[in-house]
Every structure is written in structure tokens, then in C-alpha cells.
């Protein structure tokens, strides 16, 4: 069985640095200067799942794809070193400022351009935006089914895919077929490490870069221009809490807290 797998990955600000981030007072957007970036954590699990399929089906081609600035090449290099066969960077100033649907459109057009795809894997959510929208929207634009919150996946010889997804009260077991898009949770697998051999083999692999022209889309269809204007909302600072430290013995502090919470109608 010949398989073509696309893994959508994203470079995000290292979540460990979220605390120190500052906002541009004019636009409300994050000032990203001097903040380290990493591969979105759960995207590692998406890559790992693709590599496991390839472990089982030798004739598998894995394409890692990312939309982002030139430095997003770093995460694509990483994907190649892990064992992806090729990588595509979607990079154009026109792509900037995209909301989830404009992002999904750009990625979907790139996947179309790659040709036949059996399986699209992505992390269930990005550590920065956390909208969880791009995966299902890519699937919609490509007209294929999707599954989100996936904790287990097994692809069979006949193209059927057994999926287990998490839901609030437990889980659902589904039987789907390729082509489809799967959004994975971190618990689906334990990602492998990059090996020295992997790093060496990555040197022979190519990162293809497509801009809007290369992708065959016009600037009106992508980026900020294709995103609704209401993203320019008005911003305010986060809630400042009272941080009132109670005093006395544990029993006295608890008595004061319970009294206050009762007065506020919370207990």
C-alpha cells in the first residue's frame, strides 16, 4: 500500500516564556522579539504518529508542512531529521495576520498542490492560539472527514482507520477511512528522539518554499485580507486580583475565608 501522509506543524512561542510576554498597547498583539520559539508540543505527537504508520507501511511518504516566517524552517529541519521525507514552508508576507480559516485555506491549497493525500495529521491545538479550528477547517476545505481529540489511531491494509477519541464523559471508538484528517492529543504516543543518522540524512532532504504565487493563490484570499476585520477588538489588561492574604491560625483563616465566600454568595 502506497501512502502519502501530510503532517501540519507550527512554530510557537515556548509556553515556558508566556509569563514574561508583553502586549503591544496599540494592537494588543504579542511582542515576539527575543522570545524563544519551539515546535508546537503536540505537533511532535502528530509527527510521531506519522512515523509509526511509516514503520508499518514501508511505501509511505511523509511531508511536513508549515506556514510561517523564514525561521519556521527550523521546525521543518527537525521534522526531516526525525524521518519525514520532504518538507514545505509556506512563506509570504501576504500570509501574515491570517485567522484560522485563512490559515486553513492556505494549508489546504498547499496540500492540494502536493497531490493525492491519504492522511493528514496535526496536533489537536496550538500552544499559542489554542483555537483548535485549523484542523477541522482544512478537512472541510478539502472535503474529507476529520477526527479531533484522538488518543489512539490504527490504520489497516484496506485503508480503514480505527480511531479512539476523548470526549467529556469517556471516549468514542470510530471506524473511518482514508483520506481523512486526524487531530491528536499528547497522550497518543511518546515521540522519538532525533538520532545522529537522522540529522545527517536530513541534509540530503529538501525544504520546498512556496509563496502566494507559488501556491497559485492571490493575496486577497490569504492572510489578514482574507480574515474578518473584527479581530481588531479593544483590549484591556488582565484581571488584577486582590491577593488578600488571610491571617491567623489555619482554623481562623479558613473561618474568615468561608465567611467571606458565603457573603459573596459563592458557598
Amino acid at each position: 500500500m502506497t501512502l502519502n501522509i501530510v503532517v501540519c506543524i507550527k512554530q510557537v512561542i515556548n509556553p515556558d516564556y508566556f509569563e514574561g510576554l508583553t502586549l503591544d498597547p496599540e494592537t494588543g498583539s504579542i511582542i515576539r522579539d527575543n522570545v524563544p520559539s519551539i515546535l508546537n508540543p503536540v505537533d511532535e505527537n502528530a509527527l510521531e504518529e506519522a512515523l509509526r504508520v511509516k514503520d508499518g507501511f514501508e511505501d509511505t511518504t511523509i511531508t511536513a508542512i508549515s506556514m510561517g516566517p523564514p525561521q519556521a524552517e527550523e521546525i521543518l529541519q527537525w521534522a526531516l531529521a526525525l524521518g519525514s521525507d520532504q518538507a514545505v514552508l509556506l512563506c509570504d508576507r501576504a500570509f501574515a495576520g491570517a485567522d484560522s480559516l485563512a490559515t486553513a485555506f492556505t494549508l489546504a491549497e498547499a496540500i492540494r498542490k502536493l497531490g493525492t493525500v491519504d492522511l493528514i495529521l496535526c496536533g489537536n491545538e496550538a500552544a499559542d492560539g489554542a483555537t483548535q479550528q485549523v484542523g477541522p477547517q482544512i478537512a472541510e476545505l478539502l472535503g474529507i472527514p476529520h477526527a479531533t481529540y484522538v488518543t489512539s489511531m490504527h490504520l489497516d491494509n484496506d485503508g480503514s482507520v480505527a480511531i479512539r477519541r476523548s470526549i467529556e464523559y469517556g471516549h468514542l471508538q470510530m471506524t473511518c477511512r482514508t483520506p481523512m484528517l486526524v487531530g491528536v492529543l499528547g497522550e497518543i504516543n511518546e515521540p522519538r528522539q532525533v538520532t545522529a543518522d537522522g540529522l545527517i540524512s536530513a541534509m540530503d532532504k529538501e525544504i520546498i518554499t512556496w509563496d502566494a504565487g507559488g501556491l497559485g493563490v492571490n493575496a486577497e484570499q490569504v492572510g489578514l485580507k482574507a480574515s474578518p476585520t473584527w479581530v481588531e477588538g479593544s483590549y484591556e489588561k488582565r484581571i488584577v486580583r486582590a491577593s488578600l492574604m488571610l491571617e491567623g491560625t489555619p482554623a481562623e483563616m479558613v473561618r474568615a475565608a468561608v465567611l467571606t465566600l458565603r457573603n459573596e454568595g459563592l458557598l
Binding site: 471506524t175 477588538g233 488578600l244 479558613v254
Partner: protein, 318 residues
């Protein structure tokens, strides 16, 4: 002006958030129309007086829930109703459906909503932005957006309406390419931590897995749910399941009252709870970062303080 609510069933009724959305629509002077799909319609009479109109949608491949067929049917039903804003309850099912319906209908998808007001002919959605660093007010023009709201965002006490109209529809989905073959309810996943009005969360200060029973005890007497930090899930403590992990890589909670028990206040945890209305922090370290995100701080050992709270609550509640 018109509001459409996509209801979500749970147990022998609906998610509390469904009642919140319907109440808030009434409070805005726009009693909602509500759509119930498949098995969600089983307890529709519970919505009597809470909505202007209840539309139940039956059809092939709608039971049990499947993203593929539900997207198809909901998109058609939403279009037929033609509302100014369409409200969903935040949750895994909504995250599965909403973005795809939005893409199909060419609408904006807004998630993590916490407030909704009217401004002339538009609606304004209050929501956290930039990973919880700020709040934003989005102006949503009529007919342009699907919006998901976090549980515990609205009161449920708006006056009922006189007479709810009922309408039944049949819509067959084009296909069901993601059929569910088995639904499994898991032990310990009964009260969802995202839905609870009171959340008791424990961190490393709980010291060992046996002490998680303290969280459960306090949650039980307050009618809430308990959760844990990532540290406890990573440590593999029994009962510290990922499904109750509060934080960036787990659940986002927004309860009326949040107890942080023995939690240092790492950023990934704060991002999962910082829209809680009132926060009480308990920690032995008076300099713990968690106190900066708390309304009330108790310096002390959570293992001693929690039983005191249980005792005190029992005393005042009788």
C-alpha cells in the same frame, strides 16, 4: 435581532451551559430559538418557557453523535433559522463541530466567549485573548459568527417566557464518514471539571496520591469537581488523570469559585484557570506565585487547611 442556541444534552437533561445561554438571551430581551439534534431532543420539554422556539432535528446517521453528519445537518439547520448570532457551549463536541460549520457557511468562529452584550445592531463578545494575557471585546455584526461560551459565564435566573413554540424537522446528512461504533463512559469522568461551578485543584503540595481524597471530599460537599496540575499527572499518581488536568495542556476551567491547593502557580497552570471568578489559594510558601492570581490567600499546608474548610463548611451549612 435574533439569537440561536445549539443545545447540548448531558445525562437526563442538558449541560448547565445550555441553560445559561438561554437565560442570557432572555436577559438581553431576545429569547432564543434553540436547535436540538438527534438524541439531544429526548428531554426537550425541559426547555419549556426558556426559549422562544425549540427546533428538533431528526434524520439518518444522527444517533449516536458523529462529527461528519452533525456538521452537515447543523449547517443546514442554522442556515434555515438565519439568526444574527449562533451560540454554543464550549467543550470537546463544540470544538469538533463549530470550526467546520463556520468554514462551510463562511462565518467567523469565535471561541472562549465569556460575555455577550448588544451594541445597537451588533453584538459584543467579551473573551480572553493572547493566551489569557488580556481580554478583548469583539464586535460581531449580525449573521457573521458562531460563538462558543465557557461554562459559568452567565446567570440562569432570567424570567421565563410565555409559551415556547415547537418545530420538528427532518434533515438527512449527506454522509457519515466518521461513524461511532462504541461509546464508552469512563469512571471518574462523570462531573466534568470544566462544567463545575466550584473547582478544587491540587498540586505538588498534596504530597501523595492518597491525599487526593481530600480534594474529592471538599468537592463533594461543595457540589463541585476536583482537578490536578500537570505535575501530578506526569508523576502518574492514581486518580490524577489527564481528563481532570487543569492547565494549558489540559482543561480550561472558569468556575465561580476556584481553590488552588498546594499549587505553585506555574504559567501553564494559570492559563487553564485565570478566568475563574473568585480564586482561593492555599500554599505553605507565602511567596508562591499562585497568591498573585488569587483573591484570597491562606498560608498553610493544604493537607491541614482542606479538612478545616470541610469542617467549617459543614458547620455553616448545617
Amino acid at each position: 435581532m435574533s439569537i440561536l442556541v445549539i443545545a447540548e444534552a448531558a445525562g437526563a437533561g442538558f449541560r448547565p451551559s445550555t441553560f445559561e445561554l438561554l437565560s442570557h438571551a432572555r436577559a438581553l430581551g431576545e429569547p432564543a430559538s434553540v436547535i436540538l439534534v438527534g438524541d439531544d431532543a429526548a428531554n426537550k420539554e425541559q426547555l419549556d418557557g426558556l426559549a422562544a422556539k425549540v427546533v428538533t432535528v431528526a434524520g439518518a446517521n444522527l444517533s449516536p453523535y458523529s462529527a461528519d453528519s452533525w456538521v452537515d445537518v447543523l449547517a443546514q439547520a442554522i442556515q434555515a433559522e438565519g439568526a444574527d448570532v449562533v451560540l454554543f457551549s464550549e467543550g470537546q463536541r463544540t470544538r469538533d463541530l463549530l470550526p467546520r460549520i463556520a468554514a462551510r457557511l463562511g462565518l467567523s468562529a469565535v471561541t472562549a466567549g465569556m460575555g455577550l452584550t448588544k451594541d445597537g445592531g451588533s453584538y459584543v463578545v467579551h473573551r480572553p485573548a493572547q493566551g489569557g494575557k488580556a481580554y478583548m471585546d469583539l464586535v460581531v455584526e449580525g449573521g457573521s459568527a458562531l460563538i462558543a461560551f465557557r461554562p459559568n459565564s452567565f446567570a440562569t435566573d432570567a424570567a421565563p417566557v410565555d409559551g415556547t413554540a415547537y418545530e420538528e424537522k427532518t434533515i438527512d446528512a449527506a454522509a457519515n464518514r466518521t461513524p461511532v461504533v462504541e461509546q464508552v463512559a469512563e469512571e471518574g469522568k462523570k462531573i466534568d471539571v470544566t462544567e463545575a461551578a466550584v473547582v478544587i485543584c491540587g498540586g505538588r503540595g498534596m504530597k501523595s496520591e492518597e491525599n487526593l481524597a481530600l480534594l474529592e471530599e471538599l468537592a463533594d460537599i461543595l457540589g463541585g469537581a476536583w482537578g490536578v496540575t500537570r505535575a501530578l499527572v506526569d508523576a502518574g499518581w492514581k486518580g490524577a488523570d489527564h481528563s481532570i488536568q487543569v492547565g494549558k495542556s489540559g482543561k480550561t476551567v472558569s468556575p465561580g469559585l476556584y481553590f488552588a491547593c498546594g499549587i505553585s502557580g506555574a504559567t501553564h497552570h494559570i492559563m487553564g484557570m485565570d478566568t475563574s471568578k473568585v480564586v482561593v489559594a492555599i500554599n505553605t510558601d507565602p511567596d508562591a506565585l499562585m497568591f498573585e492570581y488569587a483573591d484570597y490567600g491562606i498560608t498553610g499546608d493544604a493537607l491541614q487547611v482542606i479538612p478545616e474548610i470541610v469542617k467549617e463548611v459543614r458547620a455553616v451549612k448545617g
